[in-house]
């Protein structure tokens, strides 16, 4: 079975990979491109730890053949993290202790990014709705919700200045 060449934009730069047919975006990111912030919790679409942004919208990389997203813009937490310091959302998670074991954190951070791009000042219900597809087995979700509210608040304050 011949491999295929697929190219797409990964966090701002063009990447080209050679894959067996129907290899998932998750497998490509984790085993070929070193983006292990994309986690591997279930491969059934049930945990959300493999969440990436495709053209800014959250998708589950474990259910996504990489050929399906040829030519599109993929964002992972590696791409969100600035060269120096942290993204405001990452800072907010740190301050609110929005994690315990950390395995769900990358997925939650990306969802927060996508949510705030759509709705800069989400209420609690909107945050909960956005996170409904991402599981966390440690925190009970409140610290994560608080982190996202804190990120929204600081972003709004920043915008107001």
């Amino acid at each position: 079975m011949a491999s295929v060449i697929v190219s797409f934009e990964l966090s701002g730069r063009e990447v080209e990979v050679m894959v067996k047919p129907m290899t998932t975006l998750q497998a490509v990111l984790r085993t070929q491109l070193g983006h292990t912030a994309v986690k591997d919790g279930c491969r059934q679409g049930g945990c959300g730890s493999c969440t990436v942004l495709v053209d800014g919208e959250p998708m589950l990389s474990c259910l996504l053949p990489v050929q399906d997203i040829a030519g599109r813009r993929v964002t992972t937490v590696e791409g969100l993290t600035p060269a120096e310091g942290l993204h405001p959302i990452q800072k907010a998670f740190l301050e609110a202790n929005g994690f315990q074991c950390g395995y769900c954190t990358p997925g939650m951070v990306l969802l927060a990014k996508a949510l705030l791009d759509h709705n800069p000042e989400p209420g609690r219900d909107e945050i909960v709705d956005a996170l409904a597809g991402n599981a966390c087995r440690c925190t009970g979700y409140d610290p994560i919700i608080e982190a996202i509210s804190k990120a929204a608040a600081t972003a709004a304050a920043g915008a107001a200045r």
Partner: protein
């Protein structure tokens, strides 16, 4: 006994930024299965579709033809083919095979392991292994497992763990029947709980890497890393200094990653192929075959006085161990020691059974052995309160352990703080305690005038014959 106030403390009481937090929010934290190695093989296990069966044959002929198949691991390849999870701390018997020889006892039990170049090839080969199994009757309910004529799960012939020749862990203190006779009322309850799967977001897994110097580095997300190293060393008959376990970063464990299940097979694969081997549970494997908390049935009978004082407590507890012991026999000992709850019980009787069924083996989970016991005891305390027309606080204060109280397993209570904790809790939730309760402390009973009236003089005879 003063509780520390928050004053003058640097860290306690403050929210401190976690040093590992930056790794989590940037995704740079390295979890065991994030690693990839050149020439790495993937290990997938062929699991029993039956709950209880005799293995008549395993046909690998078709599986071997799958492109990418490297080799299979069978029971014959395992140097010491028995798990020694509790053997290290002297709890016998060792009865669970790494790879079973002739019988499977729970659905999903590993039968043979397949090593292949890619995960897809491993899955295809697993799908082409033909099993010849003879179905045997299976039992899933504890009461049925203990009934005469039940299918036998263990290889020593009855469906309970044997504690020094007895079918259950036993605690005897005082004379419960005398206590019941002297009591104003009897309160009975049966409490049932189900198995619980930890379902950590990161599934159990490891990668075993052969090193040039003949050692093996095993990247694992085990919660018990040296426990795993020791057990792997025994199973593979490999000196412990030939093994280097790297881990500590666990994507959620909750007690679900102490079973030493993946490291021995992965390291064996690395030994026999000279190549790195990745063995990571899929989500459905984590749900079906990783150990769970035991289901429990707890029956409590109490003799109580009108003032809520407990004069006798008889507890019969059963934990569903599943098909193999793992850590449940140890959990039952913990259960027996805590079955009567954090209360002074002058006459106690505890029988705690570790019952085997054809369910997935159970093991550690967050205070296993004790957690469910407390659920039962605390509901029982509420029943006593309702019966005696008392509020639940009063019943708990009057029976709470104080320093010097002799527990049923004959240890004197020391550093008791239940009374002070309840007083602080009442304050936090704005409950106004009665003066009697506010005045109580954990100081030894005879040192304080207002000790509750002893309805029945406790008769702590010397340890009874046959109890040792």
């Amino acid at each position: 006994m003063t509780t520390e106030s928050g004053a003058g403390l640097h860290t306690v009481g403050r929210s401190v930024e976690r040093y590992d937090g930056v790794g989590f929010v940037t995704g740079r934290t390295q979890y065991a299965a994030d690693l990839t190695f050149p020439r790495m093989l993937h290990l997938k296990v062929v699991r029993s579709p039956s709950h209880h069966a005799r293995i008549r044959g395993v046909d690998l002929s078709e599986a071997q033809e799958v492109p990418g198949f490297v080799r299979a691991l069978t029971h014959a390849d395992v140097p010491h083919n028995v798990y020694t999870i509790l053997g290290l701390i002297g709890v016998e018997p060792e009865e669970e095979f790494v790879l079973p020889v002739d019988r499977v006892r729970y659905k999903g039990e590993p039968i043979v392991a397949i090593l292949a170049e890619t995960e897809a090839a491993a899955y295809e080969a697993v799908a082409k292994v033909r099993l010849d199994l003879e179905e045997l009757p299976a039992v899933f309910d504890m009461d049925e497992a203990l009934a005469p004529g039940a299918p036998v799960v263990t290889h020593w012939g009855n469906n309970t763990f044997m504690y020094e020749g007895h079918e259950c862990r036993r605690v005897r203190y005082g004379d419960v029947e005398a206590g019941f006779a002297a009591a104003d009322a009897i309160v009975e309850g049966e409490y049932r709980t189900s198995p619980i799967e930890h379902a950590p977001l990161e599934t159990t897994g490891c990668i075993a890497v052969p090193e040039a110097n003949g050692r093996f580095t095993v990247h694992t997300n085990s919660q018990a890393i040296y426990f795993s190293l020791d057990n792997t060393s025994i199973i593979l008959q490999l000196a412990a200094n030939r093994l280097r376990f790297i881990g500590g970063t666990v994507g959620g464990g909750f007690g679900g990653k102490v079973d030493v299940i993946v490291e021995p097979l992965a390291t064996l694969g690395a030994m026999l192929t000279g190549r790195p081997v990745r063995y990571v549970y899929s989500r459905s494997e984590e749900m079906q075959v990783s150990s769970t908390r035991s289901a429990e049935i707890i029956r409590i009978k109490d003799g109580v006085m009108a003032d809520g004082t407990i004069v006798a407590r008889k507890v019969t507890g059963m934990a569903d161990c599943g098909a193999y012991s793992r850590q449940t026999p140890y959990a039952i000992t913990k259960f027996a020691a805590n079955a009567t709850g954090p209360y002074r019980i002058p006459n106690a009787w505890v029988d705690a059974y570790c019952v085997y069924t054809n369910r997935t083996p159970t093991s550690a989970m967050r205070g296993f052995g004790v957690t469910m016991g407390h659920f039962a005891v605390e509901v029982q305390m509420d029943k006593i309160a309702r019966l005696c027309g008392l509020d639940p606080w009063t019943v708990r204060f009057r029976n709470a352990h104080r320093n010097g109280d002799i527990k049923p397993h004959r240890k004197a209570t020391a550093d008791a703080t239940l009374i002070e904790t309840m007083q602080a809790a009442a304050e936090l939730v704005g409950v106004e305690l009665a003066p009697e309760l506010r005045a109580m402390t954990s100081a030894p009973r005879d040192a304080v005038a207002s000790a509750p009236r002893d309805a029945v003089a406790p008769a702590p005879r010397d340890a009874q014959e046959g109890d040792r």
